[in-house]
Amino acid sequence: MTQVNADLAKSFGLNAEEWGKVLEIMGRTPSLTELGIFSVMWSEHCSYKSSRVWLKELPTKAPWVIHGPGENAGVIDIGEGLAAIFKMESHNHPSFIEPYQGAATGVGGILRDVFTMGARPVANLNALRFGDPKLPVTKRVVDGVVRGIGGYGNCVGVPTVGGEVNFHPAYNGNPLVNAMTVGIAKQDKIFLSAAAGVGNPVVYVGSKTGRDGIHGATMASTEFDAASEDKRPTVQVGDPFTEKLLIEACLELMQTDAIVAIQDMGAAGLTSSSVEMAGKGGVGIELTLDDVPQRETGMTAYEMMLSESQERMLLVLKPERSEMARAIIEKWDLDYAVIGHITDTGRIVVKHKGVVEADIPLAPLSDAAPLYRRPIAETPKPAPLGAVDLSAPLDEALLKLIASPDLCSRRWIFDQYDSSVGGQTVKRPAQADAAIVKLEDTKRALAVTADCTPRYCVADAEQGGAQAVAEAWRNITATGALPLAVTDNMNFGNPEKPEIMGQFASAIKGMAAACKALDFPVVSGNVSLYNETEGRPILPTPAIGAVGVLEDAAQAVGYGLKPGLELVLVGQTKGELGRSLYLREILGREDGAPPVVDLAAERKNGDFVRTQILSGKVTASHDVSDGGVLVAVAEMLLAGEAGAELAAEGDAAFWFGEDQARYVLAVSDANALLTAAREAGIPAQRIGHATATEKLTLPNGIAISLPQLREAHEGFFPQWFA
């Protein structure tokens, strides 16, 4: 029999002080199962103990926000009685241990957070960061992660329509896999997790429980080291077929009035779902584990409470509807079992084989959960960028930049993702700055994107946090859609280090300012800390997922160029090269300050661009970000059917600077656009025009053929995986 004491608690991730609190709450030595419940509920992953004080600073309200943070996913009003329900979540550690299954189960988990609220998932996105592409392990991880995301998403039939990918040695040994799902529900059919109704049955639905991933939540909350190898058996295998059945079964059941409350079993499985449901409802819950569908023999209460077997949901049903519910669930060949009932005790009681294995008061379990205002050390502001050698020929620099891993075509990746299933995808990957997914049976569409520039964040987390939000907002705006709200995924290193907490706090500050200035509230999110390998942290990565709406899907514009159009650059260009890709890829430098984020200009320029698009005057539109204006124009050519001739005066800083709040618009009447911009007080200039030739002619007269441009752009991934 395992001795429950401070040492065991420590090995479960509870420090001496936390263990003291456990003893105080329980008034006795807890059982092993009770200790397990405390350890997962108080893990960083479930309790947000290091981040909660900071997350509170984010703006979360707007007239269109229906449910902000606190539910399984955020819910916003998108018109016509419909709601968009969305969230992003990390599966970083599992994706390094077993890239395919780690990424696949990441997709499965975030899907469940969304359909548990009554939404049909209509779009998946993924934000990925990998280590140095020169390392063989990076290739193995990229391959597995991409296959895993595709393997799961393609099978469940949710189109994967967007995402982003970065490479940096700081992610060696600690890749980031952040998956986002967007779903659609009727506003009057949204399901929450707060349990109610003493005596109501607690019902288990989905796959059977095995010994998968026991202590996954605590693993996700600790750093990686050589001993992580031993944690391998915690790997969970995803079963997308069962997930598909679960989606259809839950949505069918949600058409009835049977459900009182519903919650997916995510991290810390049965423990967190039952504790959260009962806790939120202010009731008690009693579980009888003998009735839990089990895949393996001899499972203990401890194992069942902590298992992270996938594709499972916990429901509280109206008793008189439970037989009908059973029929629906069983029609879909899923397990259905009544495993307990709601009580009025305010306690969670877990029984197994006639023995009370756990009996814990719920209020202190959540109210007394540790909450840390950890010491912070702000990162010193970066020194200004010194002199920069701008002598590299523009054409050579462009070809090198668009061939680099961070800027090259992601086609090899998204060609492995089904982006058209569902029949509503208006703009697929690499067609527009945000993916556009129509809402079936309406003219409306959602615009969805995921963005973050970690190389800015590491230099200045506050600017970087603001930039990530601004870029997401800009990407949605560039399609003509109105940006509505964001979800975030805060990926950082060890919060016990003051400099990491400093990055976190600064990023939140920047994000909050941007969200406020852009009317872009945060409605859901996720925090992933301890992203370090042997003490080396990842780049601070506050990934932003965002959703916007178009009243008429036909008004969406992409960035593919057609001959005959004029190219206008909107926004001010100073030529900011600090932390730019030009600096890194051409000059081998990673210094200076990241571009300034002027939120007022961002807002003003974006509102202007959106108005122009919705008035029908813009044929193509592309935001200017990584790589600057010249890269933006090159991408417009490669996505379209035109060449271009550029005319503006400017040095490399003009063409490759990463100044924010800018767009390249393709219009048939540049003068009209320039006049409108002047009247609005917005800097804009004509930079060239699209041609029917097969080449990009630079202002200095040098031409790059489109095939050459394309070859450079498309080469990296296929060659890497040849």
Partner: protein, 80 residues
């Protein structure tokens, strides 16, 4: 020589395929079927005459490529 590498999921690891096959066999009227596990079998022609060497090489291949030892275990047999 020929090496036959059999790769199965480790005990305790969920086997969605095996589960689905078991279910389908029941529906097809085979009630006697209990647990089903599905694995892979890889037959390799080896330009090798020494069975022990073939065995070592095949095991090496299994560890490096054929099996994902995080979730799978493997077995090598050498045939003439």
């Amino acid at each position: 020589m020929k090496a036959i590498v059999t790769v199965m999921l480790k005990n305790g690891v969920l086997d969605p395929q095996g589960k689905a096959i078991g279910h389908a066999l029941h529906n097809l009227g085979f009630p006697q079927v209990g647990e089903v596990r599905m694995g892979k079998i890889i037959e390799l022609e080896l330009a090798e005459t020494d069975a022990a060497k073939a065995q070592t090489a095949a095991e090496d291949m299994a560890r490096k490529l054929l099996a994902n030892t995080v979730i799978e275990s493997f077995k090598v047999e050498i045939a003439a």
